[in-house]
């Protein structure tokens, strides 16, 4: 069971809330830190199953948390980390996804409000999957929609693509969009065909492929 969790958050109330929330869902909080240097040390020494990290941390209150996470993942590739932030940026999403190892999450702090979905995202990241905030995906899609071949997708396929890019499995997508799993599978196959991506059963590789595609389309 992957349940050793680290929390890096400088606001006491939110940190405490997260600790309680995760403990209530069966996680063990191995450390709760509140600054960038502490975080990097704890990440490398404890190698938690999953870490929940705020982007802005003391001492500089810039992007300490993000930098520490990227550094830790350089040293331990694929270390599962879920980034929380007051705002989401495509730029940061791109940096987090750049190493292609998965086990990464990037969510708005508001998502903590919905504890079931949030805990689900934490579990997904711990298991090596991805959890991208719908807002990041919406921005990615919005800035790509004018360009071929994304424009060729049907509205339904776009919805499936959005859910898929957030990191959801076919089962989760079928629940959310009220579709049968086989219908979702058909849509995903069609999306992959339209985007010239090699189809894959592995949820994580699938998501990374989609995100890589979106980023590449944007960059080019």
């Amino acid at each position: 069971m992957l349940n050793r969790v680290l929390i890096a958050e400088d606001l006491y109330l939110l940190r405490d809330g997260l600790v309680h929330l995760l403990q209530a869902h069966g996680f063990t909080v191995v450390a709760a830190v509140e600054s960038g240097p502490e975080l990097l040390k704890a990440l490398i020494e404890l190698k938690p199953d999953v870490s929940i990290v705020d982007v802005r941390l003391p001492p500089t209150f810039t992007d300490e948390g993000l930098q520490a996470s990227l550094e830790a993942r350089r040293q331990i590739p694929g270390l599962p980390i879920l980034i929380l932030s007051q705002h989401v940026e495509q730029l940061y999403a791109q940096e987090l996804l750049a190493d292609g190892t998965g086990a990464i999450g990037y969510l708005l702090k508001d998502r903590v409000f919905n504890s079931d979905q949030f805990v689900d995202a934490v579990r997904r990241v711990a298991a090596g999957g991805t959890a991208m905030d719908p807002e990041v995906i919406a921005k990615l899609l919005a800035s790509n929609v004018r360009h071929e071949p994304l424009g060729r997708l049907t509205p339904r396929e776009r919805e499936v693509l959005e859910a898929m890019a957030e990191g959801r499995s076919n089962a989760a997508i079928s629940q959310r969009l009220f579709l049968s799993e086989s219908a979702v599978a058909k849509h995903t196959a069609s999306i992959f065909a339209k985007l010239d991506l090699s189809p894959s059963d592995d949820d994580n590789r699938r998501v990374l492929a989609v995100l890589a595609y979106l980023n590449a389309a944007k960059g080019g």
Binding site: R56, T62, Q86, H87, E89, L91, D110, F113, R146, G220
Partner: protein, 462 residues
Amino acid sequence: MLLGMTVVQVAVFLLTIPVLVLSFGLGLVPLFPPHMRLIRRLADTTRRSVGIASPYLPPPPPPRPGPDGMYRSDRTLYKTPRIPAWNDRWKWLFSDPATWRDAIWLLLDPLVKVLLLPVFLLMPRRGLRVYTAWAAMLLASTAARQLEGQVEHLTQIRSMAVDNQAAEMRRIERDLHDGAQARLVALGMTLGAVEELVEKDPGAAKALLRKAREVSSDALTELRQVVRGIHPPVLAERGLEDAVRAMAMDSPLRVKVDADLPHRAESPVEAAVYFAISELLSNAARHGGATEALIDISHVGRDLRVTVADNGLGGADPSKGSGLYGIERRLSVFDGVVALHSPPGGPTTVTLHVPKVLPEHWAGDSKMPRWKTAAVILLWGTAWCPLFPQGIVAAIMLILGKQDFSWFLVTYLPPGWQWPTCIFLIMLGTLMYVLAILLPLQHSKEARLAGMTPRGLGLGGC
């Protein structure tokens, strides 16, 4: 051209004498202003040809009627603005020192030109340089006028900055009031209702709580937008380059960002430039119909330079939209300028140039080259030798007439050479000290002209 103008100058000068006589001697004062304008035009032509900025005071604003519809000039009221306007112009012309400097120039200039004529014919370039120096003496603005202009400029900028800030504050106040604040009020009311319902109807209370959560989410979203409008988070976290990259990613255009800034500028400058770029990008997408854009952020010494180019339709007119004007206003606080090049049919290129806003310590290489450091140390270490024992002390000994000290250079020289050598040594020592002080000072001045540094002078001594 300059020589050709001499004829006109002489003519105007000859005309000046009767005009002065008529206007001040016979009271035909109205002749004075038109004649002064004529002289100014002549002087301005010369200024343009040798590259001197116009030094005149700004003309007076047109007179404004009082509440009774009358125009006031000192203690007299007039029905029409003609006489007050004339009075203002008269005062303006008469009190401007440039007017009288022009007159002196007009008197002397033909003479100078005749004197310089052989130089002009033999060495046109040097002649022009000498003439420019002469013209600058009388035609350029005085230091006082320059300072006045600067004060005027700063006053203008200050009021602009205050206005900008007040407008921003009002916008933020409105955004908060209409957005997040209203949502929080709704949230409070919903929670109040939940409090009442929670025992009677737990199901309804639960539904209301869900709604409360949504409202709090919306309030957060709106606060995020307000924050973005005040100071974008990436700008605070990463600085201008990454903030512009993040902006480029969110833009509907395909934007390529080239950035080369090893250090960050002050945060108000970053914000102003960020919002300027943001405005330019959205203009390109909205009005120019562009699909691609290129943003280049670079530096020239301590100046920050940003170029935004797009492939849109072009034909952007700063006088039509308020966007470019707003950018100009925002940047003018930092003495920044905006250059627009937008021919009909495109492409549009806008260059923002903000002078002297990047940190000083990386304007060029901040460290002195090694040979300079060595020279300065050598100068400090040896300059005392020619100055004190061999120079000043030797001079005192010469005055006292004592010749029996064996360690003075001068005592070994024939009597005729003693004083010149002594003075030379004192001057050499002083010069070495001056150099030792000036070398580092001059290095820290950013606009260092190549080859100005004296070489091979640091090797004197005893």
